[in-house]
């Protein structure tokens, strides 16, 4: 607790909010999971952006494609204990909680959870190791991307996380994939007018863990 810098937390929060991310402070993992399950139940049904044979389809969504009846969230990066905790909460509410096989749901899922190893206060950025394809896809094909970040892992600026990036990239010989994530996917390609939710998440929530 002692190495939480409130100024960095405040700056991070302001910067993430400035790019349309929602930031919430959660005392514990369990609170984080409750937040996620509630969000999953309250959001609009997930649209199916591609064919997915055998999947139960609901009414057309705002983009005139069928929606998914089963609520789905993916949390492939969680450790066994955390995953069991989340899965329990999901089961109670009838939510499918994925740990792998995320690719099968590439047409779209409700929520994807990533865990950041560092945050960058200057831009509200999360540094996420995404070498595992399931972990990467969780943050890409979900309508709401959730990143869990410990408050004590927030650093002032990009140069101050260069070492963490170096560790995340690793020294080989295995390949790696690391992602800096800042807000939902966005574009200004039509008339320079900003719009969110292009090929990635429509929304992003950062859950700041009291740790």
């Amino acid at each position: 607790m002692s190495n939480i810098n409130p100024e960095l937390v405040e700056k991070f929060t302001a910067m993430a909010q400035a790019v349309a991310a929602t930031v919430a402070e959660v005392p514990s993992k369990e609170d984080a999971f409750k937040y996620i399950v509630d969000l999953c139940l309250s959001k609009d049904p997930c649209e199916l952006l591609a064919d997915e044979p055998g999947t139960e389809k609901g009414p057309l969504g705002p983009n005139r494609v069928p929606t998914r009846v089963q609520r789905v969230l993916a949390a492939p990066s969680l450790n066994d204990e955390d995953f069991a905790l989340l899965e329990n909460l999901c089961q109670e509410k009838g939510i499918l909680c994925l740990r792998d096989n995320v690719r099968k749901y590439a047409a779209g899922i409700d929520i994807g959870i990533n865990e950041a190893v560092a945050g960058v206060a200057a831009s509200g950025t999360c540094l996420c190791p995404t070498t595992d394809e399931d972990v990467r896809l969780a943050g890409m094909i979900s309508e709401i991307s959730i990143v869990i970040l410990k408050k004590s892992d927030i650093y002032p600026d990009l140069p101050s996380v260069a070492g963490i990036m170096r560790d995340a990239i690793g020294n080989g010989p295995e390949g790696s994939f690391t992602t800096l994530i800042t807000g939902p996917s966005r574009t200004a390609d039509i008339e320079c007018v900003g719009a969110v939710g292009v090929h990635g998440p429509l929304m992003m929530h950062v859950l700041l863990l009291e740790a």
């Binding site: 910067m15 790019v19 649209e47 952006l49 591609a50 064919d51 705002p62 983009n63 005139r64 494609v65 792998d100 096989n101 995320v102 690719r103 590439a106 047409a107 779209g108 200057a122 831009s123 950025t125 595992d132 394809e133 399931d134 990467r136 896809l137 890409m140 990009l158 140069p159 260069a162 990036m165 170096r166 990239i169 690793g170 020294n171 080989g172 010989p173 295995e174 390949g175 790696s176 994939f177 690391t178 992602t179 800096l180 994530i181 800042t182 939902p184 996917s185 966005r186 574009t187 200004a188 390609d189 039509i190 008339e191 320079c192 007018v193 719009a195 939710g197 292009v198 090929h199 990635g200």
Partner: protein, 718 residues
């Protein structure tokens, strides 16, 4: 894709763009919002230091390109990447087509890559039978329309929502409303299945990091990471200039690149792909990763003492965003593949003289790009260098050659101007304007009244007006420049009055001549060197404390460019040139910083005065604030909207591209008129010529003068 071959052909293309109201509206809006938003996000960083650091590590990388390539290759191969090197665009395309064939690929999904535009990769892949889908929203729109990008970062900036709605209606067979948010979602729906079905993803690369063999992609839409993740094969096309040494270098650049590109603190996503990872599309699947490095002239450019600077470019597009010419005509008319200031240079370097000959002339030299470049590239200098090389290679034009003959011979040049002063009389009716020029000379220049040559040049008045100052505080010399010497001597007379009133001894060395800027703009390097030598010598023996010029354009040429033109000069030592350069000062800085003039030194008559910050004054000499302070000392200063935007003169530019010059000055004069000021002042006779000419033509009744004339009216004798 075509590059104009003649001015006539180019002029028609420019006309087309100028008559496209949608393009004009979008670009105009963008120019203004970009400037405002960029300023906001730059506030939280030390912009100058970061730009300097980027320049340093990119210079270092370019100097060690070969070494970094070898290091990158070893690191990437260690992680299982296949690394290739292509000498030419055709070779790169062939390599990628071969990779696709060997990997058994049918469908290719691409994220945005200007390098693949440079090699025209899609043509090759489609010809070889692959299905290729662009997945960046802008690029996808262009692919549907069979068009090319008009901006490096916002490729479809030239299109309206209505055009996009029409295209999307066609592709989906459903009527789509021109609602931007909905249209974005059409791309979301249409492209997801293409990501899923893709066999190979092709991306570009913003930084190729030698220390670990990682490539990074900087994106907002999330399509690049889909392209990198969904298909089994990932192929990267990257220019050798994208090599950098360390992760730390990238962290520095990432603080400027998105701020400069789209006024974002950072983009939504930055992917750091360091070798192939497990692919879960099949049991025990493994990704296959290929990186193709493109040379296409880059190793040669890296060895060029002048052009190597171009590799500081991080493709942010800021040079395009601030360019007053781009703002009017868009990227399709301002580059072959790469556009804007960097585009004019890269067209020459990557696509050859033939493509660059006419395009490279379309820079007004306003320095806006230099001022914002992520790597601090001296873009206007490099554009002049392109013109120099074109002239060196025999691609000059008659106007440049004639100017060279006349302007390098001071006596001939000045006698011609004196002759013109007499010969114009039938046309001026005794005014400062040429009122009755036959229409043949006027065709595209009729937006401004052209100035007359003065009855008596400043140099011919000097003997009569030179003030006597006993015990002077400073000894200064005036550098007149052609425009003030021969068209507006009264601006210099005013300055002499101010200086004498402040007890400053003034001299005017008669051997001085044109500063060389117009010759430089025409690529006449040797001629600039001739006049530069002449000018340095003319002032060398005077033992002056300062050399004052009232022309910001001359000032920036003398102070910023001579040292390059005369580097390694056989006749003049470096020390003599730098001493000359160090003494050059603009009038406002001299009055403010050296003489420390205060409001009480003037009479404030509360005249309502606005200001035009000349390009070379505000950006090259960085002295515009001094002028503003002086205006406030003597008058009621009214700020003008877009005060620091070019007036459209640009010397020979307005002769070569009068229709663009006209559009720029029209906007400038509108902004000036909206201040309701009685007078507009500036620190450059070229701008006076342009603005006064347009104000006279419009009969707006606003006084247009040099700042010196305003101050001379109000100075209190000591």
């Amino acid at each position: 894709m075509q590059a104009p071959k003649t001015y006539g052909e180019y002029s028609k293309e420019i006309d087309e763009a100028l008559n496209d109201p949608q393009l004009r509206k979008t670009l105009d809006k963008y120019a203004i919002t970009y400037r405002t938003n960029r300023a906001v996000v730059m506030r939280d960083i030390d912009e100058a230091t970061l730009i300097h650091e980027i320049a340093e590590f990119k210079d270092e990388a370019a100097a060690h390109m070969e070494e970094l390539y070898q290091q990158f290759k070893a690191e990437a191969e260690k992680r299982g990447v296949h690394v290739y090197r292509a000498a030419t665009a055709a070779e790169a395309n062939q390599l990628i087509s071969d990779i696709a064939r060997k990997e058994g690929v049918k469908r290719i999904v691409k994220s945005k890559s200007m390098t693949s535009e440079e090699t025209q990769l899609n043509h090759k892949l489609i010809a070889d039978g692959y299905v290729v889908d662009e997945t960046d929203l802008g690029e996808w729109i262009l692919q549907l329309r069979h068009e090319t990008p008009s901006h490096m970062v916002m490729p479809a900036i030239h299109l309206s929502r209505y055009q996009v709605a029409e295209d999307f209606s066609k592709v989906t067979q459903v009527k789509q409303d021109p609602d931007i948010d909905r249209l974005v979602k059409v791309a979301r729906v249409q492209l997801r299945r293409k990501f899923i079905a893709g066999d190979m993803g092709i991306t570009g690369c913003n930084f190729a990091i030698a220390e670990c063999g990682a490539i990074t992609t900087v994106t907002n839409e999330g399509n690049a990471r889909m392209v990198e993740t969904m298909p089994r094969v990932h192929t990267v096309l990257v220019g050798l200039d994208k090599l950098v040494r360390t992760i730390d270098d990238v962290m520095i650049a990432l603080q400027i690149l998105p701020r400069n590109a789209t006024a974002q603190r950072i983009t939504s996503y930055v992917s750091w792909v360091c070798g192939p990872t497990k692919w879960k599309g099949s049991p025990d699947g493994q990704k296959s990763m290929h990186i193709v490095f493109l040379d296409n002239g880059r190793t040669k450019v890296a060895k060029d003492p002048i052009f190597k600077q171009v590799f500081r470019c991080v493709r942010c597009g800021a040079c395009t965003n601030v360019c007053p010419v781009f703002r009017l005509i868009g990227g399709h008319k301002m580059g072959y593949i790469y556009m804007g200031a960097i585009g004019l240079i890269l067209t020459y370097l990557y696509h050859g003289e033939d493509k660059a000959k006419i395009l490279s002339q379309n820079c007004i030299g306003c320095e806006s790009c230099h001022h914002v470049c992520s790597g601090g590239i001296d873009l206007p200098m490099l554009i002049r260098e392109v013109r120099n090389r074109l002239v060196d290679d025999g691609d000059g034009n008659a106007m440049g050659s004639l100017m060279k003959i006349v302007m390098t011979n001071r006596k001939m040049f000045h006698n011609l101007l004196r002759f013109a002063s007499k010969a114009q009389r039938p046309f001026t009716a005794g005014t400062q304007f040429q009122r009755h020029l036959p229409m043949i000379f006027m065709k595209k220049h009729d937006f401004k009244a052209l100035p007359a040559i003065a009855e008596k040049a400043f140099r011919d008045q000097w003997g009569d007006i030179a003030p006597k100052v006993s015990n002077p505080k400073y000894r200064v010399a005036l550098f007149a420049g052609c425009a003030e010497d021969f068209i507006y001597p009264e601006q210099l007379v005013a300055a002499v009055k101010i200086l004498a009133a402040c007890n400053v001894a003034v001299d005017f060395p008669m051997d001085q001549t044109c500063c060389g800027l117009p010759l430089g703009m025409m690529g006449q390097r040797k001629a600039v060197q001739t006049v530069a030598r002449q000018n340095v010598r003319a002032f060398a023996d005077g033992n002056y404390d300062y050399i004052i010029t009232l022309c910001a354009s001359c000032g920036s040429t003398l102070k910023k460019q001579y040292v390059n033109y005369l580097a390694n000069d056989p006749d003049i030592s470096y020390g003599v040139v730098t001493r000359f350069q160090d003494k050059i000062i603009d009038l406002s800085s001299f009055l403010r910083d050296v003489l420390d003039l205060k409001p009480e030194d003037f009479v404030n008559t509360h005249e309502k005065v606005t200001f035009h910050a000349s390009c070379h004054q505000c950006r090259a000499l960085k002295a515009a604030d001094k002028s503003r302070e002086l205006i406030q000392d003597v008058a009621d200063y009214v700020p003008c909207f877009e005060e620091e935007v070019c007036c459209g003169f640009g010397g020979t530019y307005s002769v070569k591209f009068p229709i663009i010059s006209k559009e720029i000055i029209t906007k400038k004069v509108k902004n000036i008129a909206e201040t309701k000021a009685e007078r507009v002042v500036m620190d450059c006779p070229g701008c006076v010529l342009q603005i006064r000419g347009a104000v006279e033509k419009e009969k707006l009744g606003i006084k247009v003068t040099h700042l010196s004339e305003l101050l001379a009216d109000k100075i209190q004798p000591k």
